[in-house]
Point group: C2
Chain length 254, copies 2
DNA sequence: GTTTCAAAGTGGTCATACCAAAAGGCCAAT
DNA sequence: ATTGGCCTTTTGGTATGACCACTTTGAAAC
């Protein structure tokens, strides 16, 4: 036999099935939330054994594209959750570099503030203002402050008009807060910190409102430097991370 | 029968195995590159069937923690590549938002230029200078220009002293280049574009060399704006984006 | 119309066998 | 001692059939 040709290794069956299913999902042939055919039926359709179908589904499950429930069938995961789960895994796999992640996230947010100031639509500005009004109202329960704060930042991210960027920010922020117990410091923050944050938020919103990109960037940078320093305090007091790198640097200054 | 208790759904066997293996990997019990026991042996050790072991390995494979090769065994993926594969999947799942990704990547790179200007070590500066000398030498074959250019940008990213950030940049840039057929425009770029890029590179390096953060940021921003406009031209002319091939190679170490 | 509950359907696990490819040992040729 | 080819062993990949755990569903009972 002559095998000089066909140097490409034959594609594994399970991978072929996974690609086929993923193509259906991406092309919208299968809508999110929809239940796809049973494993036995799929195996019959594709002309392979159920083992291979299951192997393919294992991949898609692990990557967050589908969700299986014993006895209930396998459904397509919502599109937004796919990006989220991918990022969640990314962060889980690199939790030793938390500080780097926090720094990257802070940098992205600074950029978002500039873009929001320069290119936000009136509707998006109104959204930011709504969130701003909430965090400035004095009668909010302190346990809601963390969420209010996050919503304010998310509104700014939204005003950057980049879906990918917004998800990136949302998930990074979400996971970082979980890990650093962000809500804890937010709950027990001293009144001085509380006032400081309010001033910073006010400065950010003011700069965005008047379309001042430089000002928005600078205000956000200062705010996040404060937040980052809180992260570091939490990090030290938690003493959970074994390989905690002693990197006391904040975001670069403008 | 009374089932008031035990409301927690029993953990699936495959998930238990996957968690166990992942724990071994994360704790360093199994070193990267090391070959873990065969599936049959593993099944015997854990007291489950080979099918369950395979299901667990499917997960870990799909998430990029291990790499299996038929007949060769299953090995722990290098730590750096884990981040890469996670990001690659992230991008694959969102290829409809390519422009957003490109913009985010550009923003990160602008920030890296500032950090490099402000905080690079002498060794890192020397590395940037080496790459700069290469891209400025007139006798380089044009087919190597794309790689030289990438190395220059990577050297700057490295000088930002953030491992996560460097990987982020590297992978984003790598995938974007594949998708946009970056090398093509680079090969056939007009002499005018070529000169323009050289000037921009020179400006970036000059600013970094004199520690001018503002100047480095501005120079890199201008450069990437030019590159982004080329991306957009490619995007329009390409019409159809081919499937991204897998990335078999690792990234430069920091 | 509502509730009950058993059958059907679905994903999860098991055991066994065989296939395909790489690893490793062996031996002849150099 | 080294190299190259051959063959056995090992290891991952697929197939088949069966059974288990759970959910869905719809018909029967109220």
């Amino acid at each position: 036999m002559d095998r000089r040709f066909q140097e490409i290794p034959r594609e594994r069956v399970a991978d072929r099935i996974a690609s086929e299913l993923l193509r259906m999902i991406s092309s919208g042939e299968l809508a999110p939330g929809e239940r796809l055919p049973g494993e036995r039926q799929l195996a019959d359709m594709m002309g392979v054994s159920r083992v291979s179908v299951r192997a393919a589904l294992q991949q898609l499950k692990a990557q967050g594209f589908v969700t299986a429930v014993q006895g209930g069938g396998t459904r397509i995961t919502a599109a937004a959750d796919q990006l989220d789960s991918a990022l969640a895994r990314l962060v889980r796999a690199n939790r030793n570099n938390l500080h780097d992640l926090a720094e990257v996230r802070a940098n992205l947010e600074v950029w978002a503030a500039r873009r929001a100031a320069e290119r936000a639509t009136p509707e998006q500005l109104a959204g930011i203002e709504r969130c701003f009004a909430i965090i400035m109202s004095p009668d909010r329960p302190s346990r809601a402050k963390a969420e209010d704060d996050l919503n304010f930042h998310l509104a700014i991210a939204k005003a950057s008009n980049s879906a990918v960027f917004m998800h990136l920010m949302s998930v990074l922020g979400d996971i970082l807060e979980q890990m650093f117990a962000f809500h804890r410091y937010s709950l027990y923050a001293s009144p001085a910190d509380d006032r400081r944050f309010m001033e910073q938020h006010r400065a950010i919103w003011a700069a965005i409102q008047r379309g001042d990109g430089d000002g928005a960037e600078e205000a956000m940078r200062e705010h996040l430097n404060t937040v980052l320093s809180r992260y570091e305090e939490e990090e030290e007091s938690e003493a959970q991370v074994p390989t905690a790198p002693p990197r006391p640097q904040a975001v670069a200054q403008g």
